[in-house]
Symmetry: C2
């Protein structure tokens, strides 16, 4: 499967998720409609929808393994994929706030607080996080048991022992140099946990075996780490126009990145190794070609 | 039942909830323990625990009606009560932030961002909101169906169509004068929805009838509105030491409050009327004396 083909698939997945997200973010109010507008501004019309794609692909892989109806598994995966994307989006909005990274641009557009003011951006993030759990537990294509498991997983991966823990480490890193081990930990919490969540949510939606769940976690850990290494490389060598944000910001801020510990070539080799590990974890499952192609695609991405 | 007796009961309920909350907020990390500390700082050791108390009381009332085991109903209500208190606490942390109300004091203590810095306060709020849903869906004393309903209700009441909507209205009110109708709407969203949530969560935990759920919503609406009217009166006439925050802030900021539309005596009479309505809604249920006494107690509170 070529990079072009996986890009096509990603864009089909992104469209499906976009349309579902758009329903969840619908709403208005004569008086306080700005909050709905702010939510839609950040949630819709952008992003690779990488996490939702992973949810959907693992749901199909799990259905192929368990013999479940793939269409039903896909339908069950969609609300989970949407809930996860809402959490990812809230984290970006809050991360961009002046008290955090203080970023003015995201995906080439003004960040939420630049566009709607800090208070509305804060509340838009809160609203997305709040709604995401409502979406997960109201999934009509999965059982209440599965919905509870999915929501508990979202809470765990996005919480203090997951993404938020990573964000706190990130804050500490602004005034402290990390060793490689702490950097790996930061990244596996801040980025890796939501990718692990994506893979497992797909498994839940498709009724995966214990064995597949374990493989999914290994895959997620591999591509999650590779993703971050590539992010660091792109921040140093990428194309500002493609990225939609200024490059060189990590070096300017003196942040510890993978490039603190290795050359760009070493970092590329490290990301390639992590990608191979990810592919190895899932390749024995029938239908894993797309996930393998996705891992390769992410390794060579330019944005 | 006297005010003293209800105060005793509230403090017993608060202790029970405190101990459960303390378990949920346990955790540490050598590197980023500050987030756990910040969560505990705001969550533990303070507050009337009014919302949890309402959850627990409605669970007992519902059990008395449905014939469910009251101890089991109580145990099922505790996680919901805790989840709701976490959401209430997160909303206070975010509400106090510089971009929102910019408050330095809460319950007589420095607010979270004064104590831990803005970024950690933001993340502590996010962490509480995230964990609250995990707590609700992992409630071992209720069925997955009920846990899903409870989490969906929390999401609804705390979201854009509930508390967050009220907060957005509140922001708009900083630069705009509201009429009485909009003020009532603001308050019913910002404060009322979490109190309604409390009453209904208790009903869910105790297996209440449709009829009791309706009564619970009426009760919650009555005491929620009365609560806010009393808040406005206390802000104008209260004792700073008892309240743990400066008084007169509403007048200074030119905010629209119930005292914009009525005298203090009229506001007291209005709160009394709302309290009577609340009591009337539940008094036909066997065991509603405590909820009625609570309504009276809130009407005469000094803090």
């Amino acid at each position: 499967m070529t990079g072009f083909e996986i890009e096509k698939l990603l864009s089909v997945g992104a469209d499906a998720v976009e349309s579902v997200l758009s329903e969840y973010a619908a709403g208005d109010d004569e008086k306080f409609g700005v909050i709905y507008e702010a939510v839609r501004y950040s949630l819709l019309g952008g992003g690779k929808r990488l996490r939702p794609f992973i949810v959907l692909q693992f749901a199909l892989l799990a259905a192929a393994e368990s013999g479940a109806d793939p269409e039903r598994a896909y339908m069950a995966a969609l609300p989970y994929a949407s809930a996860l994307e809402m959490i990812h989006t809230y984290s970006l909005i809050h991360d961009d706030l002046p008290c955090m990274d203080n970023d003015d641009l995201r995906r080439g557009k003004p960040t939420s607080h630049i566009k709607f003011g800090e208070a509305n951006a804060l509340l838009a993030g809160d609203a997305l996080l709040t709604r995401s759990f409502g979406v997960a537990v109201s999934n009509a294509y999965a059982s209440p048991e599965t919905n509870c498991l999915a929501a508990a997983l979202l809470s765990e991966c996005a919480g203090m022992g997951g993404m938020i823990g990573g964000q706190v480490l990130d804050l500490i890193g602004e005034s402290e140099h990390f060793d490689m081990e702490t950097l790996e930990r930061l990244q596996s919490l801040k980025t890796g946990e939501l990718i692990r969540c994506a893979a497992l949510l797909g498994c839940y939606a498709g009724g995966a075996s214990e064995k597949m769940c374990e493989a999914a976690e290994k895959y997620a850990m591999g591509i999650g780490r590779a993703f971050q290494v590539i992010d660091d490389i792109l921040d140093a060598t990428g194309d500002e126009k493609l990225l939609g944000k200024p490059i060189g910001s990590d070096r300017e801020s003196g942040k510890t990145t993978f490039l603190t510990f290795m050359t760009i070539d070493e970092a590329r080799a490290y990301a390639a190794k992590l990608t191979e590990d990810a592919k190895t974890a899932v390749e024995s499952f029938c239908g894993s070609e797309i996930l393998c192609a996705l891992a390769d695609y992410l390794l060579t991405r330019k944005k």
